[in-house]
């Protein structure tokens, strides 16, 4: 049983990496994508095939996976991010679907719809934990840097961002690159954890889950994305047992609706979780208790 929950925790960490990537793109730069599961798939199959076919160590497989997802992401992003309007979202929809279909229709290489087996194992709980911590640290640094601030400026107001000297298209491309590389990393780790891949793991539903987790956590909050990942990713597993099994997607939907109604800006809004913030929260609570409902 412990092994099972450790597995759930590992899986949560793996998907959290993809969610963090989406957080940079959607939460901080304000760009929506409905196809990032496609970049997870690119990462997953790249690492799986390289390690399985050529016997190279997992670590190089994972690095190649990130590079592959990054390159495809930049190739898609370069022409579409310069356009105004919804073309970028449409392009991500296309790439997400196309990736899945290509994998399904290359049975000789990818195993097709039946899936790919015999992937070298890896992605222990500890490895994933360390990678998650490093990713969070790097992203926190990124968001506190000039480059991160420029991404946020683009989200807030593109024209105002340009008027202070921010190259809007370049920073959109940067956010796209970061999100794709992290989705590639996440996919590769998933491949070595499951030791089995099938195209159905990277459907549009998975892409939507990534965006939804970011929005529920609060766009513009890294800690919000982390908290939302910790709640939403293991949820289907927690609800897997007993009679609730058929109801788990209903619970999932219900939770989403509740957050939208009661916290429209997401669990954390655009604030970051901090010890000082927590202390302030309890201090306010205490004062409110003390003075009653004066207002």
């Amino acid at each position: 049983m412990l092994e099972y929950w450790l597995g759930v925790a590992t899986l949560t960490g793996i998907y959290m990496i993809a969610v963090l990537g989406m957080s940079v793109l959607t939460g901080f730069t304000g760009l929506f994508s409905v196809g990032h599961a496609g970049f997870m798939a690119i990462g997953a199959y790249t690492s799986a095939l390289l390690t399985k076919t050529y016997g190279i160590p997992n670590i190089f497989g994972v690095i190649s996976a990130m590079a592959a997802a990054l390159i495809v992401g930049l190739l898609i992003g370069y022409p579409t991010l310069k356009l105004k309007g919804d073309y970028f979202v449409i392009a991500t929809l296309g790439i997400g679907q196309a990736t899945k279909l290509i994998i399904e229709n290359l049975p000789g290489i990818t195993g097709g719809a039946r899936g790919l087996t015999g992937i070298p194992p890896g992605s222990s709980f500890l490895t994933v934990l360390i990678i998650v911590v490093v990713v969070i640290w790097i992203l926190r640094n990124f968001l506190r840097s000039k480059q991160g601030r420029n991404c946020v400026a683009v989200r807030e107001d593109e024209l105002a961002a340009a008027s202070i000297g921010t190259k809007v298209a370049s920073y959109k491309l940067l956010a796209m690159g970061i999100s794709c590389a992290l989705c590639g990393l996440s996919g590769a780790l998933l491949a070595h954890f499951m030791q089995y891949l099938s195209p159905s793991m990277f459907s549009i539903v998975k892409s939507d889950e990534l965006v939804m987790t970011v929005i529920l956590g609060g766009t513009g909050s890294l800690t919000g994305s982390i908290v939302a990942s910790l709640i939403l990713i293991p949820l289907p597993e927690v609800l897997r047992f007993g009679a609730v099994q058929e109801w788990r997607m209903v619970f999932y939907g219900l939770l989403v609706v509740l957050v939208i109604i009661f916290r429209p800006s997401g669990l954390m809004g655009n604030r970051e979780f901090s010890i000082a913030g927590l202390r302030r929260f309890f201090e306010n609570m205490r004062l409110r208790m003390k003075h009653g409902r004066a207002k």
Binding site: S145, A162, S163, I164, K167
Partner: protein, 258 residues
């Protein structure tokens, strides 16, 4: 005026949107260190002029020079980097960010660290960030916004939002600031504070200013030189006194009895 070096020069600039003439054959030369006013009735093409100077629109005809360098055709961000900052008629702040972050985001001129420095927060990155942070605090102090430092920009009162937008333009260390109706919607008291503020930007920071506004008391008190536009065309140029007594200007603004 001729002895002063021009920081901004528009040579025969025209802009057509399809069959509509927004600006036609505009020639303006802004000397360094001036506060230069552009006035005219609504739809005279004043904001269009700003949009062409900052690269939001390309000119249909004519050329624009900044410090002798041709800038029309360059992207907005590149023009901003050269030292042209602006504010917008309908305020465009980074609304959900704090006052401090609005300023901090705009402070980029002396930040040279690379993306990798940023990702790993190297000592170089930390040093530059600290220096910039100090500079931002000083700027907030100087423009009188320090007490609102942690407030969300959207929640500021209107007059302070205008002030913050100007401060954000200053944070880019520009040589020229274009102010698009900074006094719009302000009462007398607020517009007097604004007048003093704009005056201080020129006097204390040596920044040249081009200002569009409808508040004649603001324009007349501030400007060294004024250009009047009407229906996209140049109507008059001159000192505030000359403009106030110019019969063409009075006709355009007030209309005359037949």
């Amino acid at each position: 005026m001729q002895d002063k070096e021009a920081i901004l020069e528009l040579r025969n600039v025209s802009k057509y949107f399809g069959g509509i003439t927004a600006s036609e054959d505009i020639c303006i030369s802004v000397p360094k260190g001036y506060i230069y006013g552009i006035i005219g009735p609504n739809g005279a093409g004043k904001t269009t002029l700003f949009n062409m100077i900052t690269g939001v629109y390309d000119t249909t005809e004519g050329e624009i020079f900044f410090n002798g360098k041709k800038i029309n055709g360059l992207p907005t961000a590149a023009i901003a980097k050269l030292g042209v900052a602006r504010t917008f008629q309908n305020i465009r702040l980074f609304g959900s960010l704090s006052v401090y972050d609005n300023i901090f985001t705009a402070c980029q001129k002396n930040i040279t660290y690379s993306l990798l420095d940023g990702l790993f927060r190297t000592p170089k990155c930390r040093r530059q960030e600290r220096a910039m942070s100090d500079y931002c605090e000083e700027l907030l102090e100087a423009v009188g916004l320090i007490e609102f430092r942690d407030q969300q920009a959207d929640n500021l009162p209107y007059g302070l939002q205008r002030r913050l937008e100007i401060a954000r333009a200053m944070a880019t260390s520009p040589q020229l600031i274009l102010l698009d109706e900074p006094a719009a919607g302000m009462n007398d008291e607020e517009s007097m504070a604004l007048t003093a503020f704009v005056q201080s930007i020129r006097d204390e920071h040596g920044i040249t200013i081009v200002i569009i506004d409808h508040h004649m008391d603001v324009i007349m008190a501030l400007c060294d030189h004024i250009t009047v536009l009407n229906f996209g065309q140049l109507l008059a140029k001159g000192s505030p006194d000359e403009i106030q007594t110019n019969p063409d200007v009075i006709t355009a603004y007030l209309g005359v009895d037949d």
